[in-house]
Amino acid sequence: MYVAVKGGGRAISAAHAWLDETRRGDTSLPELTVAQVEQQMGLAVDRVMAEGSCHDRFLAALAIKQAKGDLIEAAFLLRAYRTTLVRFGASEPVETSAMRLRRRVSATYKDLPGGQVLGPTFDYTHRLLDFALAAEGEARGEGPQAPAPVGEVPRVTELLAREGLMQREATDDAEPGDLTRQPLAFPAARPVRLQNLARGDEGFLLALGYSTQRGYGSNHPFVGEIRVGHVAVEFTPPELGFAIELGEIAITECQMVNQFKGSRTEPAQFTRGYGLVFGHGERRAMGMALVDRALRAEELGEDIAAPAQDAEFVLYHSDNIEATGFVEHLKLPHYVDFQSELENLRTIRRSAVAAEAARDGMAEAARDGTAEAAE
């Protein structure tokens, strides 16, 4: 009887075997391949790469398969793998104005250098379930594609900055912080905040960004630009002394344009909120850009009144690997703490009951007129 209370090793092994079985599902159906996940669940793969903080489509797809489609679990698997990889150096900063674009839209200009490129998007689709997909029909034909812009496509924020309308970002040659090596500390510099947000939970970024639109931290944002595509990653090996290209990664960049009233020393101008994430993740990049701008409140002399402006609140709660672990750890046994609380509660109740009895006794004694009865 007593032994049954504590879990056994056999139970764990059996539970995990069952998990394997449920992952596979009905064996009369063909098994999902990692390549299928990678190809046909591409946006899930992108999200797992971003939150897993590791740009590798194959590993992300494998993690999704292993996690039975639980994307936070998949990101966790990827993070735990990533942590064991040897770091041999840091790349050069990627140049997004040289991005090989798949998509590039601006909400602030109808047309602009490089043009509006809609790319593959859910925008403007009618959200009607497409039963033709259920029929697993033939592959649909290729969509017509306009030729992508070639060469450098200037960023909208840069166009504004040239006119003095957009605040220039302070340049800083200091080595940016790295959350995978050093823990958060406050005040957290912007590069650290951005790194934190780039890996942050998409739902959390979305909700916080949304809250700034609803008045919790005034932002007045415009999408200056969203661009999705591939950028080259370059690395300078110390022994060579010049940069070599390692390959390309897929990223999404969002630059939000926000009003700024100006101050006595600075004329009114726009300020930016910045989002940059792995893969195709517009919602994530936009949420990130909104939250980034909100977190600049202090630097821009704005009141810190809303959750999205509170750096400690945002940065300590954005990571869904940390969050899911700690929330789910409540499933672990807490017998010992609970037992001490039980004893504590019983003691408090006993002393309260005793005090009440003593009061009753006193009242009775007073009625009887015998002081001794109160003792």
């Binding site: 504590k6 092994s13 406050f186 672990l332 037992q339």
Partner: protein, 293 residues
């Protein structure tokens, strides 16, 4: 699942001894050395993602991984017991990634990783106890901001903690904290002992073994060197008192150990048994031998 919890499972090729790479272990050991040098002070460290979830012992696991050698004998307990699921899982993890010997015997272990308890048997100088810590900041319930609590520690400004204890007495007649009961280490730093029951706090005081604390999610390491004074906060006229259920263990008869309450039916039936399974088992053997003689 390529079960981390299945010691026979393969798939650890390519991983370093004890999972973490040597550079990471060195970083953690540096944090531990700092922590030992400033007893009770929380040292930030670059905690890594581990293959176990945050809140399930990642801090303790990283500390253990950093100090573990091939000759070590590891004991892992959760709630005092070697056979709780998470203890089994962590023990298997180290069996798998480090191949070290494990034990359930407190006396035989060189490293004891624990969640929520200190073993009943007194620890020795040649042992290290590693605590898993969910929230290293003892002031977090009173002041959620790190930047502010760090300042309070730097200034040893702990009046707020005493206010909390004062309020308990004013409201309830005594201090209501039953576990994770705050302690002063070496007369300087206020420290969370991790969520061990207050019953275990006195064992920390001047303990011969090195005590290490790892908080993975919060990315802090702290330590109590051997024989360091550790005092539970209290008032002169409301002294600290460890609480245990006022019963004897139903299995070994101990009236000194910390007890778990086990419900035996749905009609209020219950029994109390030692939470420390090794201690209880040893006593049962001793009692049986005595009876046989």
């Amino acid at each position: 699942m390529t079960g981390i919890d299945d010691p026979r499972a393969s798939g650890t090729e390519g991983y370093n001894f004890a999972y973490l790479d040597e550079a990471t272990k060195r970083m953690i050991r540096r944090a531990i050395l700092k922590a030992v040098a400033i007893p009770g002070h929380q040292i930030p460290f670059g905690a890594r993602e581990m293959p176990l979830p945050y809140g399930w012992g990642t801090g303790g696991i990283q500390v253990t991984a950093a100090i573990l050698g091939p000759a070590d004998v590891l004991k892992v307990i959760d709630q005092g017991a070697d056979d709780t699921t998470n203890a089994i899982s962590i023990r298997r993890f180290f069996t798998r990634v480090a191949g070290v010997a494990t034990t359930e015997s407190t006396a035989e272990a060189s490293i004891i990783q624990t969640r929520h308890r200190i073993p009943e048997k007194a620890l020795r100088e040649d042992q290290v106890i590693v605590y898993q810590v969910p929230q290293p900041e003892p002031l977090s319930k009173l002041e959620p901001r790190r930047a502010e609590t760090e300042r309070l520690h730097a200034l040893a400004d702990y009046g707020l903690m005493h206010v909390r204890l004062y309020e308990d007495i004013a409201r309830l007649g005594h201090i209501a904290k039953a576990y994770d009961y705050p302690v002063m280490v070496n007369g300087r730093y206020l420290m969370s002992p991790s969520p061990i029951p207050a019953f275990d706090n006195p064992k920390m005081d001047r303990m011969p073994a090195l005590q290490l604390f790892g908080a993975g999610r919060e990315k802090r390491i702290y330590a109590i060197p051997p024989y360091t004074p550790v005092r539970s906060l209290d008032f002169e006229d409301h002294p600290f008192r460890p609480i245990r259920a006022p019963h004897a263990c139903a299995l070994c008869g101990s009236t000194e150990s910390y007890l778990d309450e086990v419900l035996t039916d749905d009609a209020g039936g219950r029994m109390f048994v030692c939470s420390d399974t090794d201690y209880c088992g040893e006593r049962q053997v001793a009692v049986a031998q005595e009876a046989a003689e």
